[in-house]
C-alpha cells in the first residue's frame, strides 16, 4: 500500500525491467518519516557557507544560485545533520507542528 498509482501489467513494462524516468523517487514523500522535529533556518544568521547543503543525505536543502533558501519538507527526513553542521547557529530543529514559511526560511 505504498504511495503507488495503478500497478502496470507485465505487457506494459520496459524490456529488461529498465527504469527510464530518472530521479522518480521524488514522487515518494519521505517527509512523513520525520518523528516530531523539522529544521528551520534563520536568514539573518545564515552566512551561506552551504555546510548544511553538502551534508544533507536526501538532498532536501533548496539553493538558488548557490544560496541556501530553506528546505524541501516533502523529502527532508528530519535527521538534524544540518543543524549540527551549521557553524553560525542559523539552523534549529523545531516541533513538527510549528507553523513555518513554506521552506522554513525565516526572513
Amino acid at each position: 500500500m505504498m504511495a503507488k498509482g495503478k500497478l502496470k501489467a507485465w505487457e506494459e513494462l520496459e524490456v529488461g525491467a529498465v527504469v527510464l524516468e530518472g530521479g522518480s523517487t521524488q514522487a515518494i514523500l519521505t517527509g512523513g518519516w520525520r518523528t516530531g522535529k523539522k529544521p528551520i533556518v534563520d536568514a539573518q544568521k545564515c552566512v551561506n557557507c552551504l555546510l548544511c547543503w553538502i551534508h544533507c543525505p536526501e538532498p532536501a536543502i533548496v539553493t538558488e544560485k548557490a544560496q541556501m533558501r530553506g528546505y524541501d519538507y516533502a523529502h527532508c527526513k528530519g535527521c538534524g545533520i544540518c543543524a549540527e553542521a551549521c557553524p553560525s547557529g542559523a539552523i534549529s530543529m523545531v516541533p513538527e507542528e510549528r507553523l513555518v514559511p513554506k521552506r522554513g526560511w525565516i526572513e
Binding site: 501489467a9 505487457e11 513494462l13 529488461g16 525491467a17
Partner: protein, 403 residues
C-alpha cells in the same frame, strides 16, 4: 585466409567457433580459461593479436567476472561473446540469470563438460542442463560444422528485436571441441552480410536509465512473465534465421530438430550433441537391414519445442530418449521434457498414438557411446524390453551384466 569460395577445412570445433567469432567481430570478449573450451579463446586471442578481429579481450580473473563483464559491456551497447564449461558455467550461473533478466543479447559458447564431483574434464551435458532454467536460449550442436553455423545464427537470434535474449551454443567437450573435423566456413563477406551490423536498442553510455532495479513482490512476478514471453518468441525467430542462413550457406537447417530417417520409422531415438552422429550411423546400418528406425537430434533445447516433438513422435511405436546427464532423484532432463510434451498432446488425432518410452542415460564424464550400445537400444526397444518408469544406463559397468 583469403577465401574465394566456400571451402572445406579441417577444423576442430573450438577453431570453428573461433572462426565464427572472428567473422562476428564482437566488440568485447571477456575470457577465462577452462578445459575443454580454452582452445576457443586461445585461438581467438591469436586472431585478435594478428589483427583479424577488432575485439577488445578482457582477461578476467574468474568466470563469475567473465559474465559480469559481459553484462556490463552489453548494457553499454557493445556486441559481446564469451565461452566457458562445467565449473565455469556453474560459477557464473548467478550472473547468467541476471543477463537473461536484463534481456542482453550475449553470445556464449559452452564446451559441454561434466560437473564435479568428482572433477572430470570430459564431455557430458550436465553443465548445460544445470543452466536450463536461467532464461537463456540453449542450442546443442553435433559437430564442428554445426558449432560454426549455430554460433553465427545464435548472434542474429540473440539480437532479434522480438527476442533480445542471451544465447548458449553447446558443443561437446573434446568430442567436438578438440576433434578435427571437416567444416565449411562461409566467405567473410557472406558471413558478415548474414550477421549484419549491431544497432543496440539501448546503451548506458548514451542514455540515462536505471538498469537492475530492486523489485518488491508488487512487480517481480510481472518482470518474470515478460521474460518468459521473450522465450515464447524465440521459435519463430529461430526458424526465420535458419532460412536466412540457408540462403547464404545452402545448409538446410529447418526447425528445432533434425528428423533423421523418421518418415516411416517404428522405433526412434531422441538425442543431442555429438552422439547423434554415431546414432545416425547405426540408423543407416539398421535401415540397410530393413529395419524401420529413425532418430530426432534436437538443436533447440530452450525454449523446448513441445508441440513439434509431440507431433513427430506421434507416429512411432516406441522411443528411447538418450540423456547425457541426469537430474538426480529423477530422470534425464531431456526425457522429462519429452514425456511432458507427449503427455500434454491430444492423441488419436490424424491417427496419432502415444508411443512407448524409455530413458537411457549415457556418456557421463566422457564415457564413449559405442555403436553396438545404440544397436542394443534399438533391439531392446523393438523387443519391448524397455519400460517408461525405469532408468537405463548405456555403457555403465553393473554387476551381473554380461560384459
Amino acid at each position: 585466409m583469403t577465401v574465394a569460395m566456400k571451402q572445406k577445412q579441417l577444423l576442430t570445433g573450438a577453431e570453428a567457433v573461433a572462426q565464427a567469432w572472428r567473422q562476428i567481430d564482437p566488440d568485447v570478449v571477456p575470457v577465462y580459461p577452462i578445459t575443454p573450451q580454452t582452445p576457443i579463446i586461445t585461438t581467438f586471442s591469436e586472431m585478435v593479436a594478428e589483427g583479424l578481429a577488432s575485439t577488445e579481450i578482457i582477461n578476467v580473473e574468474s568466470e563469475h567476472s567473465a559474465m559480469s563483464a559481459a553484462v556490463g559491456a552489453a548494457s553499454a551497447g557493445a556486441r559481446v561473446a564469451t565461452a566457458t564449461s562445467s565449473q565455469g558455467l556453474a560459477l557464473m550461473l548467478e550472473i547468467c540469470y541476471i543477463a537473461a533478466s536484463l534481456r542482453l543479447p550475449i553470445l556464449m559458447n559452452v564446451g559441454a563438460r561434466a560437473l564435479s564431483g568428482p572433477i572430470n574434464i570430459h564431455c557430458d551435458h550436465s553443465d548445460a542442463y544445470m543452466a536450463r532454467d536461467a532464461g537463456w536460449v540453449q542450442i546443442f550442436t553435433e559437430n564442428a560444422q554445426e558449432a560454426y553455423d549455430y554460433t553465427l545464427m545464435a548472434q542474429r537470434l540473440a539480437e532479434h528485436d522480438r527476442v533480445r535474449l542471451p544465447v548458449m551454443v553447446m558443443l561437446d567437450g573434446f568430442t567436438t571441441t578438440h576433434s578435427a573435423d571437416v567444416a565449411e566456413i562461409l566467405p567473410d563477406d557472406l558471413a558478415r552480410q548474414f550477421i549484419g551490423e549491431y544497432e543496440p536498442p539501448f546503451s548506458l553510455l548514451t542514455q540515462v536509465a536505471t538498469i537492475g532495479p530492486f523489485d518488491m513482490p508488487d512487480y517481480y512476478f510481472e518482470h518474470r512473465r515478460a521474460q518468459q514471453h521473450a522465450l515464447e518468441q524465440v521459435r519463430e525467430a529461430f526458424e526465420q534465421i535458419q532460412r536466412m542462413f540457408k540462403e547464404k550457406s545452402e545448409r538446410p537447417y529447418e526447425g528445432p530438430f533434425e528428423a533423421y530417417q523418421m518418415d516411416d520409422a517404428r522405433t526412434a531415438l531422441v538425442v543431442m550433441g555429438s552422439a547423434a552422429g554415431t546414432a545416425k550411423a547405426v540408423v543407416d546400418m539398421l535401415r540397410r537391414e530393413g529395419r524401420r528406425v529413425g532418430l530426432i537430434k534436437l538443436w533447440l533445447f530452450r525454449p523446448f519445442p513441445r508441440a513439434a516433438i509431440a507431433r513427430v513422435l506421434g507416429y512411432v511405436d516406441s522411443v528411447a530418449v538418450f540423456d547425457r546427464g541426469l537430474s538426480y532423484g529423477s530422470f534425464g532432463p531431456l526425457y522429462l521434457e519429452v514425456t511432458s510434451a507427449l503427455y500434454s498432446r491430444v492423441w488419436g488425432v490424424e491417427n496419432s498414438r502415444r508411443p512407448k518410452l524409455a530413458n537411457i542415460i549415457y556418456g557421463l564424464g566422457g564415457r564413449d557411446l559405442r555403436p553396438d550400445q545404440i544397436r542394443k537400444a534399438f533391439d531392446d526397444l523393438e523387443a519391448g524390453r524397455l519400460r517408461a518408469d525405469q532408468l537405463y544406463y548405456a555403457g555403465l559397468r553393473e554387476e551381473g551384466d554380461q560384459r
